[in-house]
């Protein structure tokens, strides 16, 4: 038993750190977030060249065929650099659903161009007034293979070539330029990952071969990957804050010498490391098909959803007035953290899911331990 990264995993993570620090520095994040799409074609083709766009997909679909832990590590580094654009939407969300639910022909048609960096895509899941993806919800209507209805909070739809639509009748793929598709921007907090309303009016769509189970497994993988990204964001917020606490002086001393400040930093560290443990385990459990994989994903998302908000709060508080300025980068992480907190189910949603999957089903123990 060994719960640490292998040499090749460490190399992948280090290389990703270096790659994004060069290709996507903070100034670039700020430039892209002010654009309509947060998408940079040059950065995208660099990422495709690295193989990132096909990281977990089979080699015969043009991917690298790496494991789910490797995906989480890449996402961690993307969260650290807060890379803007449609990687999560395209590779993690759409790619995972296509990989889980597409037949050979559909994978060739949709997944292969994703791996090659030629297509961008997203998944439309969340309905009006809904707080989470629900494959059983029937409000997007499918009739004669055509879709009618509306989905909200669809990430990066404006730069997607095609959209995977989750309905109670299965998962469908439609071209984003197909007749009857209307995409409009939502004005959400995180400018680095744009969200949109997508409306379908008698829109032609192709049904994916897989079942709801496949869709849910893909969403679990995307959720674990999102937690990986959140961990990277927490790590960066922690480092920025510790650096500031070492240099900012008040009362003639670095503020990091005051325990009230140190203890906030220590809590940031504790919550970041604990989120990391949960994210890595969830990825490993999904990779192994462990019986507790779904619970592990919910534990990770539940914990990290609260932790990324707490880490942001502590980081900004330690910065004092500087933390409240537009100029300081922390609010970018804070905004991303809020968007990620609610995406794919917030902490309360995942607590209820843990209760259903792990607590309701628990058998009574024979005896109790004496607690101390």
């Amino acid at each position: 038993m060994q719960f640490g990264l292998t040499e090749s995993q460490k190399i992948l993570k280090d290389n990703a750190r270096k790659f994004f620090s060069v290709e996507c520095p903070a100034a670039e994040v700020r430039r892209l977030m002010e654009t309509d799409t947060a998408y940079d074609p040059a950065l995208w083709s660099e990422m495709a060249e690295q193989g990132f766009t096909g990281i977990i997909f089979p080699e015969d679909a043009g991917g690298l065929g790496l494991g789910k832990v490797e995906l989480i590590l890449l996402m961690e580094e993307m969260g650290y650099a807060m890379v803007p654009g449609p990687f999560f939407s395209t590779v993690v969300l759409a790619g995972s659903v296509l990989d889980a639910c597409g037949n050979a022909e559909q994978k060739k048609k949709y997944l292969e161009p994703i791996c090659q960096g030629k297509s961008r895509a997203t998944v439309a899941m969340v309905l009006d007034t809904a707080a989470k993806p629900d494959p059983e919800d029937g409000r997007v209507i499918v009739a004669n293979g055509k879709l009618t209805g509306k989905k909200l909070f669809v990430t990066d739809a404006a730069v997607a070539d095609f959209i995977v639509v989750i309905t109670s009748g299965g998962a469908f793929v439609t071209e984003s330029k197909a007749p009857g598709v209307k995409i409009s921007a939502m004005n959400t907090m995180d400018g680095t990952r744009k969200q949109c309303v997508v409306e379908f009016n008698n829109t032609s769509a192709e049904k994916l071969a897989g079942t709801t189970t496949g869709t849910m497994q893909a969403i679990d993988l995307a959720t674990a990957a999102l937690v990986g990204e959140m961990v990277g964001g927490m790590q960066r917020a922690l480092e920025i804050t510790v650096q500031y606490a070492k240099t900012r002086k008040q009362f003639g001393k670095p503020i990091g010498s005051f325990q009230a400040v140190q203890h906030k930093c220590a809590d940031m560290y504790l919550e970041t490391e604990s989120s990391r443990s949960a994210a890595y385990y969830a990825a490993w459990a999904l990779q192994e098909g462990a019986p507790d994989a779904a619970v592990a994903v919910s534990i990770a998302k539940m914990y990290a959803s609260d932790a990324c908000r707490n880490v942001g709060n502590n980081g900004i508080q330690v910065h004092g007035g500087m933390g409240f300025t537009w100029e300081n980068d922390l609010h970018l992480y804070y905004r991303r953290a809020k968007a990620s907190e609610t995406m794919l189910g917030d902490a309360a949603f995942h607590r209820e899911r843990i209760a259903r999957l792990a607590i309701d089903t628990q058998a009574a123990p024979a005896q109790t331990a004496k607690s101390a």
Partner: protein
């Protein structure tokens, strides 16, 4: 990253599991009302049996009576012991903390002399660290030892000592040089508790028990051969001890928490509010799920830490997050239990309305000490701030 047990670990676990199945005594839980002394004799006999059959000191070297297995096997051992509801070891501090310190810092003679008897429970150990004026500021301790020929002569007082009433030996931190900065004049001694001048006074705690003691030393003569590590370098030895306490001590604890969690879920099915089981109340479900998740994350944090210690050989300052995590989680968990039990949560043992013989009332009170003992949460956060994050010292 591979969290599956290796073939060797699996074989070890299966052998242990089979042994525990036939050898774990069934009468331990029923002894809750017996005297502390008689319970301790029982645990010593149990530990002796474990030692004789090769189950004590899993990761300790074979030449000192251990099994010579890996740290991961040691972790599996604690987990399996808790899963089997096995009674604990009598020599908790000797096994978990003092033995590893002797292995790291002791001389060959000391290792041969002391380690096997720690494992067999023939010699019980305690620690003399904290003093009335040296708690979080441990290096401020005053208990002094002056060289007199072949002996150190110890005078002073220690407090918050566990197992002093049962111990044969004490790992004692003393000041051997008062004329240098406080961290530099300390030395660790092994003191025979039967030496004239050692006095143990019980300290009654808020649970009503007397787990802790005050120790008094009046002209206690300790042979120089009983110095652990180097004279005036005792701070490093003491920190090594404390890192074991923080880094590796909690493996069995997590399984015990899980068992308590299982029991609490059972109680939430049984106890009702507004005519329905509490387990159906959405707020209770949220709180139970939060505890469930945190207990699992405690396990994952520990597994990552153990993997790191396996690679480096020594626990580091990042072990402080384990201490913060288990202690604060345990307090939150006990409060959730109190909310589920309502007024029944306050009933201590010896009352026929008590739930689980009063273990929840006891747990609520006892866990109050968790964030204080073994280094307060505040000191742990100082350690993370300074030694892990590199922030300037606050004191």
């Amino acid at each position: 990253m591979d969290l599956n047990l290796t073939a060797e670990e699996l074989a070890f676990r299966d052998e242990l599991r089979a042994w525990l199945k036939t050898n774990v005594p069934k009468d331990w839980d029923g002894r809750r009302e017996e005297s502390m002394e008689s319970r301790f004799e029982y645990l010593k006999a149990w530990q002796y049996k474990l030692y004789q059959e090769g189950w004590a000191g899993i990761s300790w070297p074979k030449e000192y009576g251990g099994r010579g297995a890996s740290l991961m096997q040691q972790v599996i051992f604690w987990q399996e012991m808790a899963l089997a509801n096995a009674p604990p070891f009598a020599n908790v501090l000797g096994l978990g903390i003092i033995g590893p310190t002797i292995i790291a810092f002791g001389t060959e003679t000391q290792k041969k002399r002391f380690l096997p008897k720690i494992l067999s429970a023939e010699e019980i150990w305690c620690q003399g660290f904290s003093e009335p004026d040296a708690g979080s500021d441990l290096a401020n301790l005053r208990c002094e030892a002056q060289l007199d020929g072949g002996h150190y002569v110890v005078n002073g007082q220690k407090v918050w000592n566990s197992y002093g009433w049962a111990a044969h030996w004490c790992e004692l931190v003393v000041r051997t040089d008062p004329n240098v900065p406080k961290h530099k004049g300390l030395t660790v001694l092994m003191v025979d508790m039967k030496t004239p001048g050692v006095e143990v006074r019980p300290l009654r705690q808020m649970t009503g028990e007397t787990e802790f003691n005050e120790l008094f030393f009046h002209d206690v003569r300790v042979p120089v051969a009983n110095v652990v590590g180097k004279v005036n370098e005792g701070w490093n030895v003491a920190i090594g001890t404390l890192m074991h306490e923080r880094g590796t001590f909690g493996a069995g604890l997590q399984v015990a928490y899980k068992r308590n969690m299982d029991r609490l879920i059972e109680l939430a099915r049984k106890f009702q509010r507004n005519g329905r089981p509490l387990l159906e109340d959405p707020l209770v479900r949220q709180k139970l799920a939060q505890c469930y998740a945190e207990i699992e994350i405690m396990r994952l944090n520990q597994m990552r830490a153990f993997s790191r210690i396996s690679a480096t050989g020594v626990p580091g300052p990042e072990g402080s997050i384990q201490k913060i995590f288990w202690s604060e989680l345990n307090q939150r968990f006990q409060q959730v239990a109190q909310e589920i039990l309502g007024p029944y949560g306050q009933i201590e043992g010896a009352d026929n309305h008590a739930v689980d013989q009063g273990m929840w009332a006891y747990g609520y009170l006892r866990t109050r000490g968790n964030t204080i003992e073994a280094g307060t949460s505040e000191v742990q956060r100082n350690i993370i701030g300074h030694f892990v994050l590199g922030l300037p010292k606050s004191y």
